[in-house]
Symmetry: C2
Subunit: 350 residues, 2 copies
């Protein structure tokens, strides 16, 4: 029976190489003040014995924990997983964050936290005390939650705020919601659309408003009116139906709609169909998410690809590099418009 103790420890390496523990430690951590010959000898022993430092022991001695904690909204995440309708936010997070973390010898751990919870501090505090992560990635709607931010700052833990431009502690990163919304709008303008509706996300997410700003800016730029063409949803299907019904019932209904989530876009697609409208002939549609869903609708949806993986990867990178000065300005990773089949020139050009 194997023992629970670590098989190969720093002691074994030190003994094998005939040096002190400290020297081995220096080699492991790539510290200066080790003669090349020495370093080589130690490295040889490390390789020979297949030694890998224990993260727990490293943490214990006041060094890093090599752990990055990614915080997601519990309710929304579980709902997505249970529904199995193609939401792949967590997968994209892992794709970007986990792989980038691994490059640096770090691991990324997912933690679900209720935003609307009274004991959020206790919950998150427990995770921090138990794990002592070297960095935390906050995703909306946690990114601007003052309790979370306060707690993290208090613990002196580095953290990144995805989808936040606010000042304050932590590194702010955005996916250029404003620019993406403007891009999508311009694409429709170029196709000849004049009445472009917008279905926004909930106010709880500040990125909801940035998207409205982008749409409005591009409309202004083209000299087009926006009055009455914006509705708000909660990212969910039902709210999308409501918003779409209202927009399509307008006297002069929009010939194109941009919706701030895949589910709201899907809802708009179905609602349009029920009203006898063909997409893209009678109505052009752009989704503000490039989740799996957009590939399986008919027609396939033109969508803004939000660079989730790239953004999380960047966040992890910034979190890990402790020497670098954290960026003073919000970091922006821009998305791209993926043109598919749901956008076309409007029928008449009134």
């Amino acid at each position: 029976m194997a023992r629970r103790r670590q098989s190969v420890t720093i002691k074994h390496v030190a003994a094998d190489a005939g040096v002190s523990l400290q020297t081995v430690s220096r080699v492991i951590n790539n510290e200066p003040n080790v003669r090349p010959a020495m370093k080589e000898r130690v490295q040889a022993s490390i390789d020979k014995l297949g030694y890998v430092p224990s993260i727990a022991a490293q943490r214990m001695s006041g060094s890093r924990s090599y752990l990055i904690l990614a915080l997601n909204d519990r309710e929304r995440t579980i709902a997505e997983w249970t529904a199995r309708e193609g939401g792949d936010w967590v997968d994209q997070m892992l794709l970007g964050g986990m792989l980038k973390a691994a490059e640096h010898g770090y691991r990324m751990l997912i933690e679900l936290v209720d935003t609307h919870d009274d004991h959020i501090e206790r919950e998150l505090g427990a995770a921090l005390s138990a794990l002592h992560p070297d960095g935390v990635v906050l995703t909306p709607p946690h990114s601007e939650n003052p309790q979370i931010i306060g707690l993290l700052a208090e613990h002196g833990i580095r953290f990144a705020r995805i989808g936040s431009k606010a000042d304050g502690p932590g590194i702010a990163l955005t996916m250029d919601d404003e620019g993406s919304a403007a891009d999508a709008t311009r694409h429709l303008v170029e196709l000849g659309h004049k009445r472009i509706g917008f279905i926004a996300g909930p106010e709880e997410y500040s990125l909801s408003d940035w998207r409205i700003d982008g749409w409005r800016a591009a409309m202004d730029e083209a000299g087009l009116p926006t009055d009455g063409l914006c509705r708000r949803g909660d990212f969910g299907y039902d709210s999308g139906v409501r918003a779409a019904r209202e927009l399509l019932a307008l006297d002069r209904r929009p010939t194109a709609i941009i919706a701030s989530s895949d589910h709201m876009t899907l809802a708009t697609l179905e609602t349009a169909r029920e009203s006898g409208l063909d997409v893209p002939r009678d109505l052009s549609l752009i989704s503000f998410d490039n989740t799996p869903i957009v590939r399986f609708t008919n027609p396939r949806l033109t969508a803004i690809d939000q660079p989730i993986a790239a953004t999380i990867a960047r966040a992890v990178e910034l979190l890990i590099d402790r020497d670098a000065e954290p960026p003073a300005q919000p970091v922006t990773i821009s998305g791209e418009l993926r043109i598919r089949q749901s956008t076309a020139a409007p029928l008449s050009d009134d």
Copy 2:
């Protein structure tokens, strides 16, 4: 600036409660030999101070690490994440495993490992040495990889093999592939189908063959022939197209097909359509995956819901409960057939 050291330690609690460290430790670990009054007093201090033990320190002193490692195939997983086509295996793993682990104060960490790699031992060994997980969940095709199993056994780490019935160390769990395939087949038989084709998965996965067995058994039971009605794919789309073409080109083509993955089912759907066949009028179709894809095809696909979350949850539970005798027989969690729109009675009843 906050300090890197743990804010509230066992010492603080001991001091606050006026007892020894050891007593606090006993209370934390719910050990016997503590008087109720004492226990209560200590617990009060713990609550008051918001104390949570450091996992690293617990690990260091030879106790548990409260970590479960879930091993997935690197190549396949990254391909799924990158394609964004609705594969949600990892999400289901997290849904089942992470939540169950959390119930017991454990965390689940995902690790990607190449099966076809020469240095798989080094790679996995490094993860084990660094993390010292209390348990490991192996998913196909890792579940029967002798190198992995050997290494785990050697390290004395408990592990679960998902999708494996083989004897040997570790806990074997299956999703009743045979039974599910038989169920699906019977459903088609009851609808009146007599020629039911089967598109199997690659031999590398032993569950591929169990599914064939189930299909064959149900066909035998109904007195129906299976000769020439089985083709093999690799779970991917292209292989599904090939298999479907062959089956549909048969002299007396099948009136129904069961495919062993969502992508192969999708491929069959498209191939049938190209041949001018309507699903389900001319061809009934059952998918062996209930991933998001099946909800977005037209028609929506009847599918076998594999209880991934439930199975992983069970695995984690068995891994965590160290006192319980590990099950001698493979644990089976059965899936269910979700009947949607892709199955119907055959046209003629020849």
